[in-house]
Symmetry: C2
Subunit: 264 residues, 2 copies
């Protein structure tokens, strides 16, 4: 049973905060949905990037757009070691570290063995948290057990999302990106091999975090019959705006729209 800790409505979209407890730890969550919307509707789970949090601007803007234009609900949670799960000082330190990696400071040779281990552990912890969040969301009367559930997550949202989506049959389509498959990343490779749902994979051609060949390797590893890779020039944080339109079309194509929903 979900208890909302805060609720506010703006431009026809209601944002509700709640907390989950998973393996004894608090996992803060947020869900956006059309104001006064009732009954089952498509749900998109959005995984934020490294050093970001569940309500980061670009993610929240997309959630509001999906509610307004498609009638969807969108769910986000703070990843392990992120958002409201760490102090402000820790968040600032993390932002600095991730910022340097994204700008290629410290070389583009890829993450250290220690960092890869941290990331793999984080992904492992996040999977049951996402499952618990999806369970909770599907109990809500304005979400329901619609089988139209999608996942969106790039960068760390892909590192966590690939193992999550591979093990979660309720997810029907996924947007991934800004991540690659390096030699030795066996768990990520096996998870990608287990994914058969439609995938849209966005990749930046000059990404200091994920070299071209690793991006192609991850795209190739998905077992999906329908998968599409969008390559654009530029660095890790330079996905062109028009990809946002493509993601919206992708979800609308696979999850449908809410009947009788009037786009704002």
């Amino acid at each position: 049973m979900v208890t909302f800790t805060r609720e506010r409505t703006e431009n026809g979209v209601t944002e509700r905060l709640f907390d989950l407890t998973v393996a004894g730890e608090r996992v803060p969550a947020v869900i956006w949905s059309p104001e006064a919307g009732r009954g089952a509707r498509p749900l998109v789970l959005m995984g934020h990037g490294g050093s970001q949090h569940k309500k980061i601007g670009t993610l929240a803007a997309r959630a509001r757009q999906y509610a307004q234009r498609l009638g969807y609900a969108t769910l986000a949670i703070d990843a392990p070691g992120h958002g409201d799960r760490i102090s402000r000082e820790q968040a600032e330190k993390l932002a600095k570290e991730v910022g340097e990696r994204v700008r290629g400071i410290g070389g583009t040779g890829g993450p250290s063995a220690e960092l890869m281990k941290t990331m793999a552990e984080r992904a492992q912890r996040a999977v049951p948290e996402w499952k618990a969040a999806l369970d909770a969301a599907q109990e809500l009367d304005f979400v329901g057990k619609s089988d139209a559930v999608g996942y969106w997550g790039v960068s760390m949202g892909t590192a966590i999302g690939v193992p999550f989506v591979a093990s979660e049959p309720r997810i029907k389509c996924a947007v991934f990106g800004l991540a690659g498959l390096r030699a030795g990343a066996t768990a990520l490779e096996q998870a990608a091999n287990a994914i058969t749902i439609p995938v849209e994979f966005v990749f930046q051609w000059e990404d200091a975090v994920a070299p071209r060949e690793t991006g192609i390797a991850l795209f190739n590893a998905f077992a999906s019959k329908e998968k599409t890779m969008h390559v654009n020039p530029g660095g890790h944080v330079e996905i062109p705006n028009f990809e946002g339109g493509s993601w919206l079309s992708f979800f609308a194509r696979h999850l449908g729209m809410v009947k009788a929903h009037t786009p704002a």
Copy 2:
């Protein structure tokens, strides 16, 4: 001054046939536009594929859709050695040859030196034909000299389109695809290097005609700041339907829509 040889209207779209004479040779052309539409509007030039012709089903369907949904005019011409410029027997022989290449019969080692020479000559001949066709179209009262002109062409439509677009400043954005840059194709490489307009490049990952590395090489050769490559699984003739939606969005984004046009 253009004289139409045939004209017919169906579902709100008028299709008009006309002939151009370029370098002493007849170049058959077709233009689709919204019924009773007058005044300047965006124009898309569509180059058909090898062994196809200016009114091939998929191309004509897209032209009608653009007229209905965006208010556009679409122009197509028969490429040298194609369509109404050859006999039915020649067309059947050509379709057989191209069909075998597309299915990888004869190996995927790439076209012979002779075939590459034929293709390069064809592209060279086609460039002034496209310029003459664009000149003629811009004299029409339902097209006008709008500076919103785009190009669409994959496979042979890219082999011809890249040199044409590189030399034609009236073209503001282009969709290319199903083609690659092979070692020694200097003219194609130089033309691609000269293209700076937004490009959407669609590529099939198991294309018997264009191996992956040649597709990536052609994408890399475009000098455009905005360029995006869409990679999908499958062979030369298996572009997924959803790419059609992406092309429509691409043109709408760069060429706009006709004001006061009511989508059908």
